[in-house]
Amino acid sequence: MTHKLTGDQVLQVDTLARVEGEGAMRVVVRDGEVTDVELRIYEPPRFFEAFLRGRAWTEPPDITARICGICPVAYQMSSCLAIETACGVTVPEEIRLMRRLLYCGEWLESHALHIFFLHAPDFLGYPSAIEMARDHREIVERGLRLKKAGNALMTLVGGRAVHPVNVRVGGFYRLPTRTELTALRPALQRGLDEAMQTVELVAGFDFPDMQQPYEYLSLRSAHGYPLESGSVVTTSGIAFPVAEFEQHVTEEHVSRSNALHAGLHGSPYVVGPLARYALCSDQLSPVAREAARTAGLGPECRNPFRSIVVRAVELVHAFDEALRIIDGWQGAPAPAVPVPASAGEGHGATEAPRGLLYHRYRIDDDGKILEAQIIPPTSQNQAGIEADLRSFVQPRLHLSHDELTRQCEQAIRNYDPCISCATHFLDLRVVRS
């Protein structure tokens, strides 16, 4: 018996404006047991890898920023690192700090959007933030204010709030002045206070019981909680430099999905807030650590539904970190350093809001890109999402299709995947035999 719960809407969303993908899920049940779960997603980076070939070494930050309207800074930062590594250049400390500040802006925008507008309605029992706003106006207004603070930071440092235009290989086109940075302080300070209230709010939600057994993987950096730099660590104690990423992580094509499935030595693993928190919570700012403690998060959190709490803690950290960088900013001799083309290969990884984003480029002496490889967080998490759903669906097979679909969408949204938009239209098919 086949149930089709949400019609053929998935077929209609794959090419809609500014939609970043589609999601469909197929659950196979035999004799009352879930035997298979398939999540089908589409991701655009694959096309970008192809048309980066033949382009100039200076172009990836602008080209790859177009992959995602929510995490363009992640694409810019990982591509800059990879190109600079290939050319043998390390940017000065001031530029690293300004990149970290820009990245804070992206985390604020992305986490505020996800917490308040995409995920909180699931927990509070609303189909969307619109219905939630009618009963919880102050919560939604707070989300807008937090997102606006992130937008302001992105606009000042990145040149605009979406797809920043001020980033270049080697640094920036222009650095903000100390006066401009200081002007953001009041909004950031208020944001910090409201982020702490947000931790308290989301920590009080009801969470389904679930524990992930998988390995977690993130960057760990000498410069604090991982954002713009670091090397790779995992919860089983594996550690390696970013240059060895593809020796440990392999991607394979599965016929049901346009996104490649990544595995760590062939096994599922998870990137994102839960991984960062498990591996680097000791590097959170004191105020973020205290927020985590008050929220009841231990040294690690393995319930994916509580990822919303960890995201809120990361909001606190991003506000606090932005204030710290602004307060300590002493200016820089130049907004960028030269990065002359040099034949070679370079690797770069940074922590996008939804997890580690890896780039690799091979360029020739003239700076022409010969090969590009991009491994985004959602493709790394896809096996973990499927494994989550497998264990999640089994005890819920008695639910109505509408309710099962809603709960599966909520479980998928734990990952804030780049198919969030499409998962509202998740096409769930339960095949029973």
């Binding site: 969303v13 090419t15 809609l16 404006a17 500014r18 939609v19 970043e20 655009p44 096309f47 048309f51 177009r66 995602c68 309207g69 929510i70 959007l113 996800h114 507008f117 995409l118 189909p127 969307s128 933030a129 619109i130 219905e131 706003a133 009618r134 106006r137 939604v140 207004e141 807008l144 997102k147 606006k148 937008n151 709030a161 979406v162 797809h163 804030d416 780049c418 969030s420 938009c421 499409a422 509202h424 239209f425």
Partner: protein
């Protein structure tokens, strides 16, 4: 309507990405409107890719005109004009309705409008000018029928601006 009033309370927004085929129609139409009206005393004209930013962008405006690409199943290049400001019906049945119809990560134009309605943040008059799109492919320009529709979309925007914030 006086020119001075338009200068302080009218906003035109071209919504969309210039890199995704016909999604560029919003920014393209807004740019043409900006050229025609000029910067001295005319409405504010913006381009934006993030529908969520509209809630801030139209704060204080009596009239906001938003131009966006839509897909309704109609003829590519068809221009649809919709009143969506204070006192209008929610966009529940419209092609751009629903929280996931467009917009990165589930926050589209309709979601922005309906969230603004729920928060009493809608402009007194909001006019949506939709252009039926044919192609959303990254890296391509406007399709022929949508490029041909731009003058009609510009005319629709100008008509809304001339009428002002009172319906």
């Amino acid at each position: 309507m006086t020119g001075a009033r338009a200068a302080t309370s009218t906003l035109v927004v071209g919504l969309g990405s210039r890199d995704r085929g016909d999604d560029a129609v919003g920014p393209e139409v807004a740019a043409r409107v900006g050229e025609l009206l000029g910067n001295n005393g005319g409405p504010r004209v913006l381009e934006h890719e993030d529908p969520a930013a509209l809630l801030e962008a139209w704060a204080g405006a009596d009239l906001a005109v938003v131009v966006d690409a839509v897909r309704t199943g109609g003829e590519p290049g068809a221009v649809v004009v919709l009143e969506a400001g204070q006192g209008t019906e929610p966009l529940t049945q419209e092609p751009w309705a629903g929280p996931a119809r467009g917009g990165t990560h589930a926050f589209g134009l309709a979601a922005a409008i309906e969230l603004a309605r729920a928060l009493d943040r809608l402009p007194r008059r909001l006019v949506v000018v939709g252009v039926e799109a044919a192609c959303w492919e990254t890296g391509t320009g406007l399709s022929e029928p949508v490029a041909a529709a731009c003058p009609r979309a510009v005319a629709a925007v100008l008509e809304a601006v001339r009428a002002g914030g009172d319906r």
